[in-house]
């Protein structure tokens, strides 16, 4: 899984300055950071960063926290991440003031791979899984491809605001309480788009993957459209050394930090 777009960049440790905080999705926020030279042009959708979420010289929480790159501004060379304060690291990060320097490692991981013949992309997002699909939508729109971006949440407040996505994207939403879009799960809407889509890309919580897989297996013809999923695992090194974040695939254990986080849905052994 590696797109041909742009030059690649080897991972590096850098200080990213927090430039802006935009509250979204109720308790979450989109954080904008400065990046090393050439970063915004070199990274691709699906890649992530590993951030130190604690004061300098503290030992707690010990490990870096992985965040998918949500979007990039190529002109200003900045990037954004989507942070939901559900763990100690994210709760710390989201409360830092503008101007804070965050020790950041990246870019890490592989990318969503858009095949050359693909014209129509169906993106399926749940929770903070919305992030890498925003960058994928930006890249696809820049290439002139059609994008349907589907997102589910408990209620309207939990949805990504539409302005985060490029205008050209068809934004389709579902909520558990019907307060925005269709009432029900986002995966209920996937079936009717499967014939339209050349490729499907998904990122969200495990239950969303399970129901997405059910819908896809019940509706698709042969192996079309192919589905790529970005999977999150607890992670330590981020560089493929510790083997703490593996995903079991038909080809054996694959690290989600280097050989992932993006996998072909059909290659993953789903528990």
């Amino acid at each position: 899984m590696q797109s041909a777009a742009g030059a690649t960049m080897r991972p590096r440790e850098f200080l990213a300055e927090l430039l802006a905080i935009e509250p979204v999705m109720g308790d979450s926020a989109i954080l904008t950071f400065t990046a090393p030279e050439g970063f915004a042009k070199a990274v691709g959708a699906g890649q992530f960063l590993d951030s130190l979420c604690r004061p300098e010289s503290a030992h707690d929480p010990l490990l870096r926290r992985p965040y998918s790159i949500c979007s990039v501004d190529r002109a200003r060379n900045t990037f954004t991440i989507l942070v939901r304060p559900y763990g100690r690291g994210s709760a710390w990060l989201i409360n830092q003031p503008v101007g804070t320097l965050i020790d950041t490692l990246g870019p890490l991981g592989n990318r969503f791979e858009v095949q050359p013949k693909t014209n129509r992309l169906l993106l399926v997002a749940g929770g903070v899984g919305a992030a890498p699909l925003v960058l994928l939508a930006e890249e696809a729109v820049r290439r002139g491809q059609s994008v349907a971006y589907m997102m589910g949440a408990q209620n309207a407040e939990g949805l990504l605001p539409a302005h985060v996505l490029p205008e050209e994207v068809e934004y389709v939403v579902a909520t558990d309480d019907g307060s925005a879009g269709a009432k029900g799960f986002v995966t209920d809407l996937v079936g009717e788009y499967l014939r339209w889509a050349d490729q499907v890309f998904a990122c969200g919580p495990e239950p969303m993957f399970r129901s997405l897989r059910r819908v896809v297996l019940a509706n698709r013809i042969g192996n079309a459209p192919p589905v790529q999923v970005s999977l999150e695992r607890t992670m330590a090194c981020g560089l493929g050394a510790c083997l703490g974040c593996v995903v079991e695939t038909k080809h054996g254990m694959r690290t989600s930090c280097v050989q992932g986080p993006v996998y072909d849905m059909d290659e993953v052994i789903w528990s």
């Binding site: 080897r10 991972p11 590096r12 440790e13 130190l52 030992h59 707690d60 929480p61 010990l62 490990l63 870096r64 490692l105 695992r233 607890t234 992670m235 330590a236 090194c237 981020g238 560089l239 493929g240 050394a241 510790c242 083997l243 703490g244 974040c245 593996v246 995903v247 079991e248 054996g252 254990m253 280097v258």
Partner: protein
């Protein structure tokens, strides 16, 4: 320092009684299990500058490792139960030593087994492998012949493994001690007697954490090895005790994350150090430690790293001078 002096000597001889030698340019090593096979970090640091690195643990047969989750963060530390995922000794030999033979940095291979014969078999295969500078023997494994009792908890069983490896290879042999041993000094003396060229310690401490929401252990394996700053005082204590009881060089391991941490281990009696968990937090830490140790020696008028080793022991108390106090103040600053 007013006059220009030669750079301090940071070389370390980890196998002084072995003709095949294991001389490190500096005392900073990457610990097994935290550094893959060297290549993973080569994309982000200059691996060739290291004193040495120790590979992921290799076993007689390939292993897929444990189910997920394999890691859990704990206060100032982490638990891991990777389960020795590795390609097995034969798969390993085809893949990595041919790469390492073109590297300057000494590559040390960590081996794990559940039977004495299997340790010996792996040591024999490694003996003539190109690009292998030494063997680190992980004795924190269950001994199947002893009903799964950990080799490293028992001096006799630890000596059995060491003797078998020693007989199977002329390569420098480092034995990595388990902090689970009731008598760490007894184990250290037993492996020294059985032919170990050096001793590394400590391996992780067995720990566990429970998710109170699901009411289940966090790790799929239930228990895991605790590492990180949380275990450092235990490691410093064990290095200190073992250093007083053996003559072979000691490699200190356990929660090292800064120059001051490294100095604690040297003062306790370690000739070299290994860094593991801190690499996950600061991938550049090994490079920084190499520079900072050299700068520290120079700033304190020490010509050789060896002048620091073991200085915390009573035998050196007579040496304590105002200069030493200044040195420590600098280290803490």
């Amino acid at each position: 320092m007013s006059e220009a002096l030669a750079a301090p000597d940071t070389t370390v001889d980890l196998a002084p009684r072995n003709p095949r030698e294991l001389v490190l340019r500096n005392p900073v090593m990457a610990a097994s299990g935290c550094f893959g096979y060297g290549q993973e970090y080569a994309q982000i640091i200059d691996v060739q500058r290291l004193g040495a690195f120790v590979s992921k643990g290799i076993t007689p047969k390939p292993r897929a490792g444990n189910a997920m989750p394999r890691i859990a963060e704990t206060p100032a530390g982490m638990l891991n139960a990777i389960g020795l995922q590795n390609p097995g000794i034969r798969g390993f030999l085809k893949k990595y030593p041919p790469i390492w033979q073109h590297w300057q940095v000494p590559a040390i291979v960590n081996i794990s087994a559940e039977a004495v014969d299997d340790y010996a078999m792996m040591a024999r295969l490694l003996d003539e492998a190109p690009g292998v500078a030494g063997i680190e023997v992980n004795i924190s494994c269950p001994n199947i012949a002893a009903g799964g009792y950990c080799f490293g908890w028992d001096p006799e069983m630890s000596a059995d493994v060491t003797r078998a490896v020693r007989a199977a290879t002329t390569l420098p042999v480092i034995v990595k001690l388990s902090p689970g041993a009731l008598d760490i000094i007894g184990v250290a003396q037993a492996v020294e007697e059985a032919g170990a060229d050096a001793i590394s310690l400590i391996n992780t401490l067995v720990g566990m954490t429970i998710d109170t929401r699901t009411r289940r252990p966090v790790l799929a394996n239930v228990t895991g090895g605790l590492s990180g700053p949380a275990i450092r005082p235990v490691a410093v204590r064990m290095v200190y005790q073992v250093a007083a009881a053996v003559k072979v060089p000691i490699i200190g391991i356990g929660g090292i994350a800064s120059l001051n941490d490294a100095l604690e281990f040297f003062l306790a009696g370690a000739s070299a150090i290994q860094v593991g968990t801190a690499l996950f937090v600061q991938p550049g830490i090994l490079m920084r430690l190499i520079d900072e140790i050299e700068a520290y020696l120079a700033a304190n008028g020490l010509n050789q790293l060896g002048e620091l080793v073991g200085r915390a022991h009573p035998a050196h108390r007579a040496d304590v001078t105002a200069d030493s106090d200044v040195a420590l103040a600098v280290a803490e600053g």
